[in-house]
Assembly symmetry: C2
Homo-oligomer: 319 residues x 2
Amino acid sequence: MTGSPITGKKLYIQEVSVRDGFQIEPRFIPTEQKIELINALSRTGLAKIEVTSFTSPKAIPNLADAEAVMSQIERVDGVVYAVLVPNVRGCERALACGVDEINLFMSASATHNLANLRMTQEQSLAQFEQVVRHIDGRAAINASLSTAFGCPFDGAVPESVVFDLVQRYLDMGIGAVSLCDTTGVANPAQVERVCAQVRERWPELVLTAHFHDTRAMGLANVLAALRAGIDRFDASLGGLGGCPFAPGASGNVCTEDMVHMLQAMGYDTGVNLDQLIEISRLLPEIVGHDVPGQVAKAGPYSRRYPVPESVRALSGANQ
Amino acid sequence: MTGSPITGKKLYIQEVSVRDGFQIEPRFIPTEQKIELINALSRTGLAKIEVTSFTSPKAIPNLADAEAVMSQIERVDGVVYAVLVPNVRGCERALACGVDEINLFMSASATHNLANLRMTQEQSLAQFEQVVRHIDGRAAINASLSTAFGCPFDGAVPESVVFDLVQRYLDMGIGAVSLCDTTGVANPAQVERVCAQVRERWPELVLTAHFHDTRAMGLANVLAALRAGIDRFDASLGGLGGCPFAPGASGNVCTEDMVHMLQAMGYDTGVNLDQLIEISRLLPEIVGHDVPGQVAKAGPYSRRYPVPESVRALSGANQ
């Protein structure tokens, strides 16, 4: 569409499969395979890769090799290498590996925060402050807000709670926030409304949208977030990841499906889609099961099929 | 969102699973099961059900029982019972069963028309005229335009071709058109652009959007069509259906997933979502395989989970 406001608009695609996806895989993914996958992803043009999580190996056995992975990957200029960190101890481990960005996380709903972190939200905020002081400028910081659009235990999350938490992060000196639809309950009207308000109140905030496709609304929510001016999106190769509260349902928004849609619409994602699809097609062997992503199966919209022989004969007869 | 323009806006949900879905099932669905399913769907508040197709039983063996199904279903007031018809002969069979609406179909791309119908587009148009004359007001007529957003053989379909065909239909006296993304290649920017132009040029036209979720853009395209003012959507229970050119990929947009999103956004679909989900959960047994729909697996966004025992203990300790 000539003159369309979206033509060529730059977007930032942030890959979370190796952290958000792998952490719930029942089978340990060998360190070497993780490193190979991250190295391949690094060369596709992604803006950021969430490499691993410096949590307790007991809590997340599949990411017990956080140091090895983070220190041995080949880092590509222009790619931000981020890691998830639950506390000062994890932060210390992450900084020792020279991470670019530390991603802190808590939930917008009280019960999910207790279930996931065994802390009240105020305890989480106090820990955020500790970690921010500890980092002291040695890495960028992002705060991820889980269940920002609803909670599987508490139900609806008041928008004012989200806004208050964003303000608390800013007060601590955190200038980047991810609004996460952890269990795939957000709808596009809600996404557009919440994101537009956050953008309006804090235009300088670096804002990421993180959606799950649990109820098939993943790319519709991306579209709604775009309308609200969001330009940073988390996604997971093959749609890996997901939510223990929705067995059988899809996981995170699939990176290659999202990039495919955005590029078809005329956005500049900076990502080489063909490479991404090629890498995604390795996933079923790596994780040992089928993955939800669709473009890797169907091919991009531009895929052409040979004209059937019967038609070519008919076509000639009809001329 | 108080005062939102979408709150309570009436939409029309049109079910195609028993025709578009069943026609490609490898196994014959017993007539009795089809009738039971349609009867159940009739009571959910759907605006229209595409019951069957009066084509040659050799071409589509699974719909060889078109007469039996169409005559034996219990028709519910307010539901439009439509059937697909390829020619005057099929039209005669359909009218004998007292159908409410006859759906004619051809493709926007030359090669897909030849492959699917063994006719040139001009031959299809001539047949449309014959059928319209033959019906002579005895049933409503809708024209479905396949590959309206792109063709697996010819690639891009010029928008002018779509507009010219819509005009040809109107010239014949056909006042209802479905724009069909037969192989799931449409993107939301394209959908909004094409639908908005058709709506602007022919505001009186009864316009349906028919999307496939082949490349995960199904509900994003629904959202884009809504923005263009579309209020009628085809969808298929469980996401049955699909496209022979995308093995492994999803089929039609899933009815319950679409209704779930639209209701969450505040639209009035007229459909009882709980009933729809209940009926969809019968599908895997009816067709003998898993189906792509996600809300039937994950439950609606409002689904609440019991607070874990560990959290309740912790929550008490933290007060």
